[in-house]
């Protein structure tokens, strides 16, 4: 049986006194949190420990005694040993250290069923010793694990387990319990040496409580700021919930425009940040911090964009290039259609159908160009006011750009839909009529192909239609191919914009910065370094925190937003293209609130 004692490094040189800490249930270990110095009154110590237990919720108790005898303090040991009668425990630890020696010695007094059974175990540890040559009956070994108290207190062990656990699952591991103990014992660490109370203790903060003026000022300022943001949000929510906005066309439109979607997500984020309750656990705190930091970075980038945009007449330049670009695009499209109406790439097109389709699309392009020319005086104004939206963040500017691209290429989308529907109809017709050609039919109930005896007129008309569809297939397929390619280019561009918006929204910048600067706060585990190991003597280990890997930090703390990812695999996409189904390759997940 091995007894592990977690000993804080700050107490290595503490004056003699009592050890306060916690026995970890279910494992053979104890965590030492502080040392209360001599002189003390035992009754006051008991009171203090009970008060701390009530404040922190940790099962604190007096673990044992610690003696580091200085000059003029002989007789301390026997006094401390007698204290074991005052504080009744199952096990009483007596840890001793000599000045000048680096080793600890530990005695464990157990209270068995027959009264007191003292087991004397002496373990000497010396740095230069040449191996322990004492013979001990090692029925119980002691391992001292030294830890840095401040770092462990601030650290969070990953994977994070939620607070209320099902009692049926396994109890938390020893390490996790130890981290939780230190983290929750914060009230214990408020007693520093400048306090005028009856007790003096040693822990990591006993030299004086740390505080930062900036952090305190921010904490004071954040309360009215949160209230202001909350009030603004309530007005905004009231405006959004006006009934006129709940009409179907507006609601459908607002769910499709990415600007509105981005606006709703930012509103959610603001609501999370501006809640007046402080964060209850680590996850919430990280979520709030990440949202705040990414919002600030977003706004900073947006302001940068604005400062570039409104300088040197950039807006006028942009507006003046937009109409010629649109003209150029439409001219290219017209040339493309003329080429298709001829004999493109030597393919055999049906001339009549070719002319019909080509003229239809040419007329659409003509309509679109007229629309652009109609809008051209207003473009500069639209760009100017649109650029103002970048003050809300770069994500808004990008969403607005994506929406404008969607509106400007609406005709390509229309062409694609026409071409795809025609092609899809043709493919379905052909496959069904091919089955008729062979004398078979699709059984919808059994989802398979069965034989069927058709009537004469069905056969006749079916064969005629099959022939017509077959010979018109190259024409339709070519138009479909051309417009699908154009549509895919537009979709790709929009996808890039959406991906970058999503990246800015969800990347946990605060967590990554924490991982880089204060890596002990995000712990994946611990590693142990041997301080001294001699056969036959106690083991002293130094526990160091193993920080979380960067990729795991990003994975754990990603803000869930409408992550934009491709809906189909490559194979499914190609199959859809082949059959003629309409593609909406980017799927937007609705946000999940956890």
């Amino acid at each position: 049986m091995v007894l592990k004692i977690f000993f804080p490094q700050c107490c290595n040189r503490a004056d003699s006194g009592l050890l306060v800490g916690r026995w970890i249930s279910g494992h053979d270990s104890a965590v030492v949190l502080a040392v209360i110095h001599y002189p003390f009154i035992p009754g006051q110590v008991k009171q203090y420990v009970q008060k701390m237990q009530a404040q922190s919720g940790v099962e604190l108790s007096v673990l044992g005694s610690w003696s580091l005898p200085k000059e003029g303090q002989e007789g301390m040991e026997s006094f401390l040993r007698d204290l074991s009668t005052i504080f009744p425990q199952e096990r009483w630890l007596q840890i001793r250290r000599q000045m000048g020696k680096t080793g600890f010695t530990c005695e464990i007094l157990k209270q068995g069923p027959n009264g007191r059974i003292a087991e004397r175990k002496e373990k000497k540890k010396q740095e230069e010793a040449d191996g322990g040559d004492g013979e001990e009956e090692d029925e119980e070994k002691v391992i001292f694990v030294h830890y840095e108290q401040r770092k462990v207190m601030l650290s969070q062990l990953h994977p994070i387990q939620s607070g209320d656990r099902d009692p049926k699952t396994d109890p938390p591991s020893e390490l996790r319990q130890m981290f939780q103990t230190v983290a929750r014992s914060q009230p214990l660490f408020f007693l520093d040496r400048y306090d005028d109370g009856p007790l003096k203790s040693t822990h990591w903060q006993s030299e004086g409580r740390e505080a930062s003026i900036i952090v305190e000022l921010l904490k004071q300022a954040s309360v009215p700021l949160c209230m202001l943001i909350g009030w603004l949000l309530s007005i905004w929510t009231w405006v959004c919930n006006i009934r006129i906005f709940s009409l179907y066309p507006l609601r459908f439109l607002s769910s499709k425009l990415s600007t509105c979607v981005q606006l709703s997500y930012r509103t959610e984020h603001m609501r999370t940040i501006s809640s007046l309750k402080p964060a209850t656990d680590h996850t919430q705190f990280m979520r709030k911090a990440n949202i705040l930091v990414s919002f600030l970075v977003d706004v900073a980038l947006g302001v940068l964009l604005m400062s570039w945009l409104y300088r040197d007449n950039h807006i006028t330049m942009l507006a003046n290039t937009l109409v010629p670009v649109a003209d150029h695009v439409s001219k290219e499209l017209e040339e493309l259609l003329q080429w298709l109406m001829g004999a493109p790439a030597g393919l055999k097109m049906n001339r009549a159908l070719d002319q019909v389709l080509g003229r239809f699309f040419l007329y659409h392009i003509h309509l679109w160009i007229s629309y652009i020319h109609l809008m051209s005086p207003f473009i500069e104004g639209i760009l100017w006011y649109g650029g103002l939206s970048a003050c809300f963040g770069l994500t808004f500017a990008l969403s607005l750009l994506s929406d404008m691209v969607a509106l400007l290429t609406f005709h390509i989308y229309c062409f694609y839909v026409y071409g795809a529907r025609l092609y899809c109809l043709k493919i379905y017709g052909l496959s069904s009529l091919w089955r008729l050609f062979r004398g078979k039919k699709w059984n919808v109930l059994r989802q398979r192909v069965d034989s069927c005896s058709y009537d004469l007129d069905q056969l006749f008309i079916g064969t005629l239609l099959f022939t017509i569809l077959l010979f018109l297939l190259p024409t339709t397929a070519l138009y479909y191919l051309v417009f699908t390619l154009l549509r895919l280019v537009v979709v790709l561009f929009q996808g890039v914009l959406h991906l970058s918006v999503d990246f800015i929204n969800s990347f946990p910048l605060f967590a990554v910065a924490l991982r880089v600067c204060r890596s002990y706060r995000l712990a994946e585990g611990v590693k142990f370094r041997v301080l001294c190991d001699e056969p036959g003597s106690a083991l002293h280990l130094m526990m160091e925190i193993n920080p979380l890997k960067g990729s795991a930090a990003v994975q754990t703390y990603r803000t869930p937003t409408y992550s934009c990812y491709p809906k189909d695999s490559w194979g499914a996409l190609v199959k859809k293209l082949f059959v003629g189904e309409l593609i909406y390759p980017w799927r937007h997940k609705t946000t999940k609130t956890d």
Partner: protein, 294 residues
């Protein structure tokens, strides 16, 4: 150990495997292969009966030849579409009358098909074909002539191969569709929309309605059926001969071999048949399952 081995013990060998017998598993006694049956169920063909049946196949071949002849005439402008339409209409009416005459009383009761339904079908055919003929005409404009001929030849061959010679009355899907596909390909090469319409009506007549009439003839008047077959064959050879003598010679050869040579081979080669059946064959179900389907 085989039948020539040492005489076995007193217990006779039985051909069962569930008993533990003192013989090895692959032992057979002298009754081996007694249950072998050779050429059971073989049919004795008589030459002239087979020739008569083969006449039907020859008739169908000649039908295709007649159709191609008509198309050749239309393409060269020797036959005007109006004349073809008129002739088709008249023949259709005559055929319909003959069909009604030949239908016996029993058959009309089991499957009553009124004249109105027939008229409706005919109207659908004609209107559909007439409406689509301008579209059909432009279908193969951009396809090269060789491709069109090749496609039509393949399709007509498929039609001949998959034709339901045993019971042509509900026309087989693949054969009819292949023939119609070939006729659309050929018809779209003609100079005008009316030509296309006429050609398609003729194709419908020849490939869809003519076999129904033949079926009736075969059922009710077998002697006349044979005469009709011979007549069609002669007509096919003659018609093709007026356009291309080489084609006529080829057709005559093909008809001769199908009608006379192939039955001879069939009858002669029967004596080389050597089927064996025995108790080792898979079980066959000889019930008529059609009464489960109704």
């Amino acid at each position: 150990m085989g039948p020539d081995g040492a005489p076995g013990p007193a217990v006779p060998w039985r051909k069962v495997l569930w008993e533990c017998q003192p013989f090895p598993d692959n032992y057979v006694d002298q009754r081996f292969l007694e249950e072998l049956r050779r050429n059971e169920g073989i049919r004795q063909y008589r030459y002239w009966a087979v020739v008569k049946e083969a006449g039907f196949v020859a008739q169908q071949l000649s039908c295709v030849a007649v159709f191609i002849t008509l198309w050749l005439y239309m393409e060269q402008g020797l036959l005007s579409p109006e004349m073809l339409l008129g002739t088709s209409l008249v023949s259709a009416l005559l055929g319909y009358g003959l069909h009604q005459v030949l239908t016996s009383q029993v058959e009309t009761c089991t499957e009553p098909r009124t004249h109105l339904a027939d008229l409706q079908s005919a109207t659908i055919f004609l209107s559909f074909t007439f409406g689509f003929s301008p579209v059909l005409k432009t279908l193969t404009e951009s396809v090269s002539t060789d491709t069109v001929y090749a496609m039509s030849a393949v399709m007509l061959l498929a039609h001949l191969v998959s034709f339901p010679y045993a019971k042509p009355s509900p026309p087989g899907s693949l054969s009819l569709n292949a023939a119609l596909f070939a006729s659309v390909c050929l018809a779209s090469r003609l100079p005008g929309a009316l030509h296309t319409f006429a050609m398609l009506s003729c194709a419908l007549l020849v490939f869809a309605l003519w076999p129904c009439l033949l079926q009736r003839l075969r059922d009710n008047a077998p002697n006349q059926f044979t005469a009709v077959c011979v007549g069609v064959c002669v007509g096919g050879v003659g018609g093709l001969g007026s356009q291309s003598p080489g084609g006529a010679v080829l057709l005559a050869l093909a008809l001769g071999s199908v009608t006379l040579l192939c039955p001879l081979l069939l009858v002669r080669l029967q004596r080389h048949k050597d089927n064996i059946q025995g108790p080792w064959d898979e079980a066959e179900i000889h019930e008529d399952l059609s009464h489960f389907l109704h």
